[in-house]
Each structure stands twice: as structure tokens, then as C-alpha cells.
Amino acid sequence: MKPFTEITGQVLPLDRANVDTDQIIPKQFLKSIRRTGFGDNLFDGWRFLDEGSIGQTPNERRLNHEFVLNDSRYQDAQILLARENFGCGSSREHAVWALLEYGIRVVIAPSFADIFFSNCFKNGLLPIVLKENIIEKLFELASREQAVDLTVDLPGQRVVLPDQETVLFDIDPNRKHSLINGLDDIGLTLAESERISTFEAGYRQRMPWLFREAEAAAAATFSNTGDSE
């Protein structure tokens, strides 16, 4: 995972509440078996007037000029400003991949949906929760004639506004540590392999009905119609 320390970047104001992951990346793009190729379809249903399919490039599409992503002011955006409950709905991590690939490194909102929030940290996308009054001020700033830049300083847990006002934010210290150091989440857990094995052995004693490889295998071959190829 790419480490995250500090960025200074342009703010893209997306003034909608309850933005769901179906809007962030619509289902027709989830057929890919890869982790990349989603950035051109970020907010596809809002960004384009025609229905897109996998493999099209944006210049083959009809742009929706009313949508903020297509506003000439925000073409270098790295910070997405959103309303409450951002990322609700489907667990698709493709939503995070699409944001990152488009160039977004930070999402600022008054609240996030749980699964999306968790998915962000696995990929080096920083979700920041700020109070409504600050969000309101940021929307006002970001909607002006000239786009604005913010500095997001993760070690200092602060957002610096253009007028040098500094807003502090909370973050789980473990998640912060992982992001700053770009740590391998699976590697961290595998370092505890011995404890997991010890737990599993005791658990197997207590709940033997959950460890039934032989029976499961027998059940799996029951009425199987065979080879799928």
C-alpha cells in the first residue's frame, strides 16, 4: 500500500448526501477481474449522459456538463468533499479503487458508511470526518470561482485551509500508523499466526461441529453434476 503522509491538493465539492457505491462505480464495471481500470468510470452515471460499458474511454462518451466532476475548475482534484453517509450500500471495494485511480487521495465528509470507510484504509485512501459547520465552510470555499487547495497533514491530524485556519481531525491511531507507513495489513496479521493457531485449536475443541472437513467434502460431492467446462 502506498504510504500517506501529507498532501496539498484541490478540493472537489460533491454536494449530495447518501452517495452510494453504486453511484461511485456502477455495476457494469465490476465484471473486471483486475484492480485497475475503474478511474475513467468514477461516478459514471452522473458524469456521462450515455450508458457506459467496460473499455470505453471518456472521449468516446457524452459528458454531463452539469456534473461537478466535469467542471473545468476541478480537473486537478485530489480531495473529495462530500455530505453525510458517503459510500453507503454495496461493499464493492472497486469504489475505493475508482476514486484512487481518478486521483482522489482524501475524502472529507460529516460521516461515512462502515464498509466503505474500512475499505479506504486498506488502499491508502484517507477518509476524514469533520463537523457539519466546517464541512459547510469548505463547501462555500470550494464552490467559489477559483478552486481551492487544502493541505491534509496525517501525522499532525490536521487540515489547513487557504486562510491558514487549521482544523484537527480524529483517526484511530492504529489505522493512522498503518497509513503513514503503508503497512501490509495481511502481513501484520500473519505475524500473529501462532496465536491464531492456538486460538483455533482451542476453538476446535469447544465447537467441533464447525470443523467437519470430511462431512463437508461428502456433502459437496452429493448430486454434483460434474465438470463445468
Binding site: N85, E93, W209, T225, G226, E229
Partner: protein, 471 residues
């Protein structure tokens, strides 16, 4: 010290401990896999040279992409080559690692959240994960079941653990008796309407009360399924006789003395009488009416006897803007009564409502009647191959076909329209699925979420109608 909630008990039983960085490691008993959110996880595993921790904890099936017709053709029936590659990739990964899969030709294939319980692969007290937000369904069995992203799919494959923070406890207490033809679907829609789509964010919901005890397992699954639409990653119902009766004799469930041993433990999987909840909602089942969503979020829901809202009556400008946008998208006007709104398609299916009980209700409403002429398509997609076979054996399929419904093979189908079943722009659909987001059932399509009984009545009438007046 106060007692434990059901969620506390299942959490505590699976807590491996704190990782070096202080985060909790929770042991996972069952990992369900499907074709859409697993390929990148398997690839990640391979690239890092890692192996799955415990093969027998995994169970896989293709469901999101599979076509619901021409299924005898198997993989050749998937005409979308990109979708086909995804299903083939799941086949290959399962074969390579020896993971049990009910593949596209297996009679047990189906929606992952239907087949888990159906096989007894979902058991009380389990921790269950799947790269799908509707994993909350399995909480009906007093399991802690949560949707996860693809990075966590890889993490669970590699370590058999999920690293997360414990959520809060939220109880939804529902007493009284649901009126006839008012179902678990109406109940959960009413709950989401009451607390909103972020109402239970950061919490696990436990559904309790006499109305919940009276629900079948199918009803409880419908209820827990849509917990995520209220913001909760997991929803749960405590173990009772209904739970155990459903599971007994299922292929993956224990039998003999192992069952007895398990049952003794499972019986403890209810919240203690003195358990404390962080938040609660109390509802009276007897006052519920059938629910219909009018907008583009599950919280935009009203009773069948009500009208779409008026943005001028909104609390603030932002809410007014949201209502306005949803009305425009849905092609409705402010204060328009929902009953009488004309429909183009009807979809009965999805992990919310595609089980045998759902199909029986539909059959009881449509038996001897005909789908209205203005309905272009009325689709019924069973949740699994076994549900399909059972519906055919019970004569339900004959009733559907005689009434003019399209009777299909199992899969997610038009719930999210990744396969060929979808709405055309501006088509309006009565759907038993779980999400009415913009474009969910097809680009610019208009989705109204309802119960199976209400969808059935709408198919016959050609427009929304109170099923209690026509059944």
C-alpha cells in the same frame, strides 16, 4: 456488571486477541465467495505467495453475473465474455485451492445468501463474511455475518481472521402481530424509513420482540438482509425453536451427538435479560401497512396508502433538494399517491425475497389470474436451484407460468442487473430486491422496493395496489 447481548457473546467467542498494532482479530468460521469480489483477492494471495488458511471454511458459488435463462448451456450460456471470464476465474480459483463450489451447472447453485442457510453452512454462533454487503442475511441464525471488501476477502483467505473494531449494540424491538399480507419486508422497510440509511451506522442490530419470534426463518433472513440498508453491517436474531427446526437435517449441519452438543451451545445465543444496548427503536407490528419506496434510497419509503412527499414541506434546503432530485429521477410529482402508479416490469427475486416462502405468497396472490397487459415483463427468479426445484414440485411454477410470469433459473439477476436482466431507461419496476439507487436495475431505470405479495398484486393490476384489497 450487566449481561451480554447476543452480539457481545458471538464477538467474545471469536476474539483471538489484539494484533501488535492494537487492533482486534476476530476468527472467521465461514467465508462465502462469489465471482465478482473474489478474483482480485485470489490474485493478491498468489502474488504474495500466500495460501488460504483453512480451505473447509470456504464455500463458493457464482451468482451476480450468471444469466437466468439457457442455463443448460453452462458457461457457454454467458454471452458477455467479460462476465464469463469472471465466472471461469472463480471456477479456476476454487479448483486450484480445493474450495467447495456449487458451480453454474450444480443444482445447488444460487444466490450466496440463499445457499448458505439452505445447506446448513450457516449455523448459529458462527462468524460469517462474504465480499457482499447483504451477508447480514445470515444473522437470522444468530450468526455475526458481515459484508467485507475485496482486501478483507484476501485477508480472511490468508489469515482466517477479520481485523476490526467492535460495533455498538442497537436493538429493534417489535411486538404485536403483523397484519395479514404484511411481511418482514414491510417491517424492514418501515425500520429503514424510521431511522434512515445511516441510522444504525457503527452498530450491530438485534431484532427482538414477539413479532420477530413469530417470523419464519425466511422472514428473519429478509429482515437481517436489509440491516445494511439501515447502515448496520450486521443484523441478528437470537436462537429459538424456529432456528433449530430449520437447520436440522441440512447437509452441512451437524447430526447425532454433535448436533446435541451444538444445540446446547446454540440455546445460549440470545441476549441476557439484563443486557444493555446503546440504542433502541420500538415498533408496533399491528399498525404496519404494506410499504413502497418512492425515491432513490431505501429510506424514501411510504405506506401504500400514502403519497410521495412535497419538497416544500422539507426540513431544510438540502433535504428539499434531495426530494426534488429523487422525484425527478423517479418521474413522480410531489404529493402523488403511490397507489395507482403504473408499472412496466415486475421483479420477484434477490437475496432479500427469493426463498420458497416468498414464492408461495406470490403464488397465492396470482393463482388463476393474469399479469396485466401493460407489464412488459414479470420476472420470477428463485434464490437457488433447490428453491427452483421445490417450487416446481409444489406446482408454484405452473401457477406463475399460467399467470404470464417469466420463470427463470437462480441468480442475483435484476436486483443489480449485472447479467442480461435489466430495466431500460425510465422503465418503472416493482421489485422485491433491496436497493432502489439510481441505475441499480439498469441505466436510468426506476425501482420501487416492495414485498413479494405487493409485487405480485402490482403485476396483476399493472399498477401499485394494496395487496390486501385484491388478494
Amino acid at each position: 456488571m450487566s449481561g451480554k447481548t447476543l452480539y457481545d457473546k458471538v464477538w467474545d467467542a471469536h476474539l483471538v486477541g489484539q494484533r501488535a498494532d492494537g487492533q482486534s482479530m476476530v476468527y472467521i468460521d465461514r467465508h462465502l465467495l462469489h465471482e465478482v469480489t473474489s478474483p482480485q483477492a485470489f490474485e493478491g494471495l498468489k502474488l504474495a505467495g500466500r495460501k488460504p488458511w483453512r480451505i473447509d471454511a470456504n464455500l463458493a458459488t457464482p451468482d451476480h453475473n450468471v444469466p437466468t435463462d439457457n442455463r443448460a448451456a453452462g458457461l457457454d450460456g454467458i454471452t458477455d465474455l467479460i462476465a464469463r471470464e469472471q465466472v471461469v476465474t472463480l471456477d479456476n480459483n476454487c479448483r486450484e485451492y480445493g474450495i467447495t463450489q456449487f458451480d453454474i451447472l450444480d443444482p445447488r447453485q444460487g444466490i450466496v445468501h440463499v445457499i448458505g442457510p439452505e445447506q446448513g453452512a450457516t449455523l448459529p454462533g458462527m462468524t460469517i463474511v462474504c465480499g457482499d454487503s447483504h451477508t447480514s442475511t445470515h444473522g437470522a441464525f444468530a450468526a455475526l455475518a458481515q459484508g467485507i471488501g475485496t482486501s478483507d476477502v484476501e485477508h480472511v483467505l490468508a489469515t482466517q481472521c477479520l481485523v476490526q473494531q467492535k460495533a455498538g449494540n442497537f436493538t429493534v424491538q417489535v411486538d404485536g402481530q403483523l397484519p395479514e399480507l404484511v411481511s418482514a419486508k414491510d417491517l424492514v422497510l418501515a425500520i429503514i424509513g424510521a431511522i434512515g440509511t445511516a441510522g444504525a451506522t457503527g452498530h450491530t442490530i438485534e431484532y427482538r420482540g414477539s413479532a420477530i419470534s413469530a417470523l419464519s426463518m425466511e422472514g428473519r433472513m429478509t429482515l437481517c438482509n436489509m440491516s445494511i440498508e439501515a447502515g448496520a453491517r450486521a443484523g441478528m436474531v437470537g436462537v429459538d425453536d424456529t432456528t433449530l427446526a430449520y437447520l436440522k437435517g441440512r447437509p452441512f449441519a451437524p447430526s447425532g451427538s454433535l448436533w446435541d452438543q451444538a444445540e446446547a451451545y446454540w440455546r445460549t445465543l440470545v441476549s441476557d435479560a439484563d443486557a444493555q444496548f446503546d440504542r433502541q427503536l420500538v415498533l408496533d407490528a399491528a399498525s404496519l401497512v404494506p410499504q413502497i419506496t418512492w425515491g432513490t434510497s431505501p429510506e424514501m419509503v411510504i405506506g401504500v396508502d400514502a403519497a410521495a412527499p412535497d419538497p416544500r414541506a422539507a426540513a431544510d434546503a438540502q433535504e428539499a433538494d434531495g426530494i426534488e432530485r429523487a422525484l425527478t429521477y423517479m418521474g413522480l410529482s410531489a404529493n402523488q399517491p403511490i397507489s395507482g402508479v403504473s408499472l412496466d416490469r415486475v421483479f420477484i427475486g434477490s437475496c432479500t425475497n427469493s426463498r420458497i416462502e416468498d414464492l408461495r405468497v406470490v403464488a397465492s396472490v396470482v393463482s388463476g389470474k393474469k399479469v396485466a397487459k401493460n407489464i412488459k415483463q414479470a420476472l420470477i427468479v428463485p434464490g437457488s436451484g433447490l428453491v427452483k426445484a421445490q417450487a416446481e414440485a409444489e406446482g408454484l411454477a405452473d401457477i406463475f407460468v399460467a399467470a404470464g410470469f417469466d420463470w427463470r433459473a437462480a441468480g442475483c439477476s435484476m436486483c443489480l442487473a449485472m447479467n442480461p436482466d435489466r430495466l431500460q431507461p425510465e422503465e418503472r419496476c416493482a421489485s422485491t430486491s433491496n436497493r432502489n439507487f439510481e441505475g441499480r436495475q439498469g441505466h436510468a431505470g426506476r425501482t420501487h422496493l416492495v414485498s413479494p405479495a405487493m409485487a405480485a398484486a402490482a403485476a396483476i393490476a399493472g399498477h401499485f395496489v394494496d395487496v390486501r384489497e385484491v388478494a
